[in-house]
Symmetry: C2
Subunit: 587 residues, 2 copies
């Protein structure tokens, strides 16, 4: 089983030194969320993840969730752990105090999401979708519904799901077939089948609140006829007590390559009672509020799995002896593999990507809070546009880099990485879902290029590139070489951006064939930008904590020398057009 | 379960049109191996792989090999299939007719290896190591031993293994602890433990012939004290009949991420009777003959798995509708995903790498035959040097590209790629062993850079680059743009080569930290070179088979535009030195 120590020091460094978004700092509601409080939370979070949750990873992989006589049974230990988890209030971390939550900002809850992803992604998924459903309900439902459902969800006694996908529609929700028929009392009866529903059923909570998209009988075809419904597993009585079983049943659960402790369900809705959330035919808009936040969390999952993969690779490399290095002083026997240049390079690749991602994510968490809560509508909108822009980037980069990092971890472990004992192969399998679910990474790239670069509020990508450019000047001699590299790649990215915006207008296929590469180029530059902010502090406060900051500077140095230059290759290959791709005749 | 149709047409194209190595064509022993014969063989091979072997893949994954009361049981169906497989003579394909073999060259047997890898890698491994052991015995053993063991191995009634790895030594064989004590009759008693032994035990054959490296009691430490021994599972009597059980037992079998139908064994040798093969203390040399050929086959495994992953992605993309394309004419509903630029790009990426690899492999098969059998020692040595150079390249590129391709296949399938039904995730898991076993890809890269570029026979890499350069001129206007791209990247590779050869002499850490990237750059250029040879024929014979050759030209076009340029990125990042890597202080 892999070991895990939550990276509290790095998280607190970000919280203390890089919480520098003026608009975030203006938010009244977080004035009291200070360093001491956050440190206490993260230390408690570290304990529960390291001690209680981590062992569930192996348990879930060896004893996958099963469906027995229509009932989903989670793996051994999940129930007990979940009880303790909600008793300690972890489901309520980011929720509104009005419903019993602790009201913590994303700048804190994102760290918790990362830790929980490191410890056990399967276990995490049981509460993760609840938070998604909570967010959706709290933004779009009536007060009556909020008061009825949210306190139990915040407490973790009830959970939530997001029911979108159907057999013929994953990416393409306009094709959905689930029907909703209005009843005389204003409720609806839903019928249809939903597939790939994460935590669609389980034995951890007393009730499950499904958020379901469906088409009302008289609604138009396509995405413009989709409404959103709340469909509880058990109907909830007026007094809030649990009533009769609703018409929702689990048809089957998926057998998957990884996240075997998570129940991925086929749900059948047969005249199930549902309540409309938000406006009729505006269901997708409501759902996307929740989808976008959820997509960032999927990126964080990739980050969390990367972190535990790195930690175990590092400790293995320090313990395993094999081969002599170029500089060996030993006359016999072998050296620790951490002395080999090639292994060191792998480890630094992992570390420099992980820490850069964490810093980028922290920046995005501040933006997210501003986008949700800032009183000034203009500031709020600008933050929201940046969050929308960066959501597909974070989801895709972090999940893809998670595959690169877990794969490197396997190579560091050699044959022991491929066998079950060390648990490394499980990290690789578990992470492999992250580039697929919540919209495949190709869909994310298309979303970025066709919908996020420029939107009704303006040229968002230009604002973002300008923001990076403004950070590209310094008087600090030590920072200059890093700035120079960033500038070089920012120019490449800018050229790429001009090219792709033009193609979006005039040659959509060229843009489509280039959008994955564009996303990667943007991702590598964004992480470099996050590193620059880390470096500014590292040089400025160097004397305060030499060891820590020297580590940051050297890690960044690797990123700028070996990782960032990949952006250029994406630019070069992607801008070769698409005629030869579109005209190809597949036999 | 994935479908599979053996790519006989492409294989016959290579055999008919690219069997152009003069030295290979001079080999007397293959004069009769003509197009008709090979076509017959490949068509029979296609049948057995498509019909008999393919279903074993799923069976082996769902019912992994088990160890029961000391006996290894292969998955359901393996025994019956193996009987038919040896009855039809497939184990004897490339073996010497003197021992009952069919004497087919690598130009044919490599195609069979590819098909079998596509159908079921786990099943393949039971006979693959036998061929390795056969090769080793036939090159290094006495006539007496050859006559006693080889006919049964060729027939497939007995199998063979390669026993190298021990708990503390995988990469670093000098550390091995297995002891061999000489007996008065000239035999040896071996004691020790070997791990990760593929097909170390099974219930398919009457006997298993282990080739074991061990240290004779009075031999020196390190790699210079290693000898090679033949250790049968059952001692073979003078008359060739099977005698008493030898002191070899299976301690356990590994539980692995993939290739679950293959038995990966811990073997315990307790005073097991063994016979020395080759010279005392020269065991590693003898073993490496077999290791090198085996490493090429691992590359071919990656190619075979890539092919079946591509075929299924292509057919899925033609069946699955999702989303509207940029050029859609449908006013409602979705288009087939094969119409999406991004999916097409993925498919062409797979196809252009696969077909390029197959062509490169065919070139290498001819060189291998020349290196083994050409009567002129100089020609033989030159071919041998080229094969040695390209062995780590083929092993690493094809296995790594196999991961890229099976991963793209999973993305094309979306959620259905991550669940078990379609069998795509199994291809991804099965292929993941190929970058690890027979020497991890990092070891391959170090082998290439430190031992293969320049050896005692001269500057091998320069000869190879010269060979490519000589193909970089043409009068054909249509070929010129391809040649131009190849030249550009050959120049980059040449600069990289000068750099790395200098570093091998003067700054070994810089070379170590760059060798993975160097291998990739060389690999991408080698595949491009193989494509040039394919293109020459395609333009020349275009009118003979327009559809086939147009497909080749367009596929090559994708390779040169989108794949080959990656070589440059490897060059740029790798040549940034290693000081900052070696001096990094890991906490």
């Amino acid at each position: 089983m892999p070991n895990y120590t939550a990276p509290v020091e790095d998280m607190m460094f970000l919280f203390d030194k890089l919480r520098n978004n003026k608009n975030y700092n203006d938010l009244e509601k977080y004035k009291e969320v200070n360093s001491e409080l956050v440190k206490d939370i993260l230390e408690e979070a570290a304990k529960i993840n390291q001690n209680l949750i981590l062992p569930l990873a192996k348990s879930g992989d060896e004893n996958p969730t099963v469906l027995e006589n229509g009932v989903v049974r989670t793996p051994p230990g999940y129930k007990e752990a979940y009880s303790k988890y909600i008793e300690d209030g972890w489901t309520s971390l980011s929720c509104d105090p009005k419903y019993g939550g602790q009201g913590m900002p994303k700048t804190v809850s994102a760290f918790f999401d990362e830790m929980l992803s490191s410890a056990s992604l399967s276990f995490k998924l049981y509460s993760e979708l609840s938070i998604g459903a909570y967010n959706c309900i709290s933004h779009h439902a009536t007060d009556q519904i909020k008061e009825k459902y949210l306190p139990k969800m915040v407490e973790g006694k009830w959970s939530g799901t997001m029911c979108l996908t159907e057999p013929v529609c994953g990416t393409d929700l306009g094709l959905l077939k689930t029907k909703a028929i209005e009843q005389s009392d204003g409720t609806f009866k839903l019928s249809g089948q939903k597939i790939f529903i994460t935590s669609g059923d389980q034995d951890l909570t007393e009730n499950i609140i499904h958020l379901v998209i469906a088409r009302v009988a008289d609604s138009p075809a396509g995405t413009k006829g989709i409404s959103l419904f709340l469909v509880p597993k058990f109907v909830v009585n007026e007094d809030g007590s649990i009533g009769a079983r609703n018409g929702v049943s689990t048809g089957s659960i998926e057998s998957k390559m990884g996240i075997k402790g998570s129940a991925t369900c086929v749900l059948n809705f047969d005249d199930a009672t549902g309540y409309m959330i938000g406006l009729k035919n505006k269901g997708l808009n409501a759902m996307f509020t929740m989808m976008n936040l959820e997509r960032i969390v999927v990126g964080i999952q990739g980050l969390g799995i990367s972190e535990i993969a790195y930690q175990n690779s590092l400790s293995y490399a320090k313990e395993r002896k094999q081969g002599k290095t170029n500089n060996t002083k030993s006359t016999n026997g072998a050296d620790f593999i951490i002395e080999h240049a090639d292994i060191r390079k792998s480890l630094l690749n992992m570390k420099s990507i992980i820490e850069g991602e964490r810093a980028l994510c922290f920046w995005l968490s501040q933006q997210t809070e501003v986008s949700l809560y800032h009183p000034d509508e203009k500031i709020k909108q600008e933050a929201s546009d940046l969050v929308s822009l960066m959501t597909p980037v974070v989801k895709t980069m972090f999940s893809d880099m998670g595959m690169e990092i877990t794969s490197e971890a396997m190579q560091v472990h050699g044959g022991y990485g491929y066998t079950k004992d060390q648990g490394i192969e499980q990290l690789y399998r578990d992470n492999r879902i992250t580039p697929i679910y919540e919209g495949t990474n190709s869909i994310q790239a298309a979303d970025l290029v066709f919908r996020k670069l420029v939107n009704k509020n303006g040229d968002i990508i230009d604002k973002y590139l300008e923001l990076i450019k403004n950070d590209c000047s310094t008087e600090n001699e030590k920072l200059k070489p890093f700035i120079k590299e960033l500038k070089t790649h920012l120019e490449i990215l800018s050229t790429f951006t001009v090219w792709i915006k033009e193609k979006v207008q005039n040659s959509k296929d060229d843009a489509s064939a280039a959008c994955n590469d564009y996303l990667k180029a943007l991702g590598f530059v964004s992480i470099a930008h996050a590193w620059i902010k880390v470096l500014e502090v590292s040089f400025k406060d160097y004397e305060q904590n030499k060891e820590f900051y020297e580590d940051k500077i050297q890690t960044a140095n690797f990123y700028f020398k070996r990782v960032l230059p990949r952006a250029e290759s994406h630019f070069k290959t992607a801008t070769s057009g698409s005629d030869y791709i579109m005209n190809f005749k597949f036999s």
